[in-house]
Symmetry: D2
Subunit: 148 residues, 4 copies
Amino acid sequence: MNCIFCIFVKILRMYLSETSVRVRYAETDRMNYVYYGNYASYFEVARVEALRDLGMTYRRMEEEGFLLPVLEYKVKYFKPAFYDELLHIKTCIPFMPSVKIVFRYEIFNETGMKLNDAETTLVFLSKESGRPCKAPSELLQKLSPYFS
Amino acid sequence: MNCIFCIFVKILRMYLSETSVRVRYAETDRMNYVYYGNYASYFEVARVEALRDLGMTYRRMEEEGFLLPVLEYKVKYFKPAFYDELLHIKTCIPFMPSVKIVFRYEIFNETGMKLNDAETTLVFLSKESGRPCKAPSELLQKLSPYFS
Amino acid sequence: MNCIFCIFVKILRMYLSETSVRVRYAETDRMNYVYYGNYASYFEVARVEALRDLGMTYRRMEEEGFLLPVLEYKVKYFKPAFYDELLHIKTCIPFMPSVKIVFRYEIFNETGMKLNDAETTLVFLSKESGRPCKAPSELLQKLSPYFS
Amino acid sequence: MNCIFCIFVKILRMYLSETSVRVRYAETDRMNYVYYGNYASYFEVARVEALRDLGMTYRRMEEEGFLLPVLEYKVKYFKPAFYDELLHIKTCIPFMPSVKIVFRYEIFNETGMKLNDAETTLVFLSKESGRPCKAPSELLQKLSPYFS
């Protein structure tokens, strides 16, 4: 049944997190904007903090034998960000991860204007074998309340 | 008529260019890969050199009053690039630009393996008005032989 | 008189500030360390926050017609910083600025180990003339209590 | 004897190399200059190419068990570099390396103007022990003609 209530429930079934980054001079370009390539590291901060809010650290996952390279990255830029702005990033894990994990992001400036949205798909690799593997069970346990 | 010949001609109706970049230590990360966010500056090099091959420079376009921010950026990563590799980037302008210009990219390593492909959409802005505007007529003139 | 008390007083005649940055994956290199070139943007964060603590922002100085390029930069690396570490940066303005301003920095990791120290010398330029000029009077006023 | 001839001979007793880098948009900042922190990766390119000219690659040294972190870095900025400029870097190894290796650099723009000079001191570490060690004998052999 695709009733409104079901859709609403489905909308709630995701994990959400928020973080902030302040734009560094190093990250601007001569157009006076944040260089389009530098948002990738803001999204990295956002997903790392999303995991930290959940009680996981990406660093520990690596120490426990997982690598998490990015498979796909898409971003749409609506408005530029400027030097010294404090940007707010809303991060969402929209599905329970399996071998892959998807993160979606929206960046807002201080006045609440949406600057861009983006999505990254990452894959869990076993450090030992170099092969794709299932997400760490600790992560799945911590995420499961958000998806049930 | 959608005959094979027409499709072939259509395939030829695009502008192609090639350039190389060598991976810097600065661009690697602790996974030993080129950091996923650093490809954006490789693609920047690729499109700037594609324009230079055509007899245009992005710098002169800016001096003549055009800005060219990125509206959209998509990349799929198949294989990682490593330190000191000489990467080959194939760049294509698939359509005649109007207010927007699309670039498509493929990166290959030294052994000819395809590492990723990407697409950026940029918009021409008038520096004066800050508003979208038509691509510089010099660019359109120089590209037109490739699309007729 | 070079008595100990005078030296002590002289030591106190400086402006001190502290800030923190967390190491991003983007900032590491394949040696597993923070890339030596990336500390420059940490020191940028440190001096910008040192000014903000004083009630000044670098961004507003620029808007009021000052540029502040770096003339000299020296850094000694004792120990590496690693991914995800929360680094503490102690910043000091050791002299009253005139046309130039000196910042000194020390970075410590979470366990209190000193990782490096550095110094940058910046020059105030008038945006209008492009020539060196005196530091903004507001900055001098705000710093003067620390040097009298 | 500090006669002119001896000084001249001493001047010749060094290893010299040249390379070029083109300024990327990513490397500029909103002052319209190359960001002061980005020269570090230009100097990295310069020393890596200096070694390659000698028939060594930094990458192979790493594969053979050496790490080469930077211990000290000093740079004086005289003039800014701008977007799309082709910069020429002169690199010099002024002394025969031992446990440490010193590189000196000068960057010139297209019009031959000297933009900055810099020095980095790096230390050879054994990957296995993590301890300082002597430079690889192959490097010493290849450098010795320049210092005898």
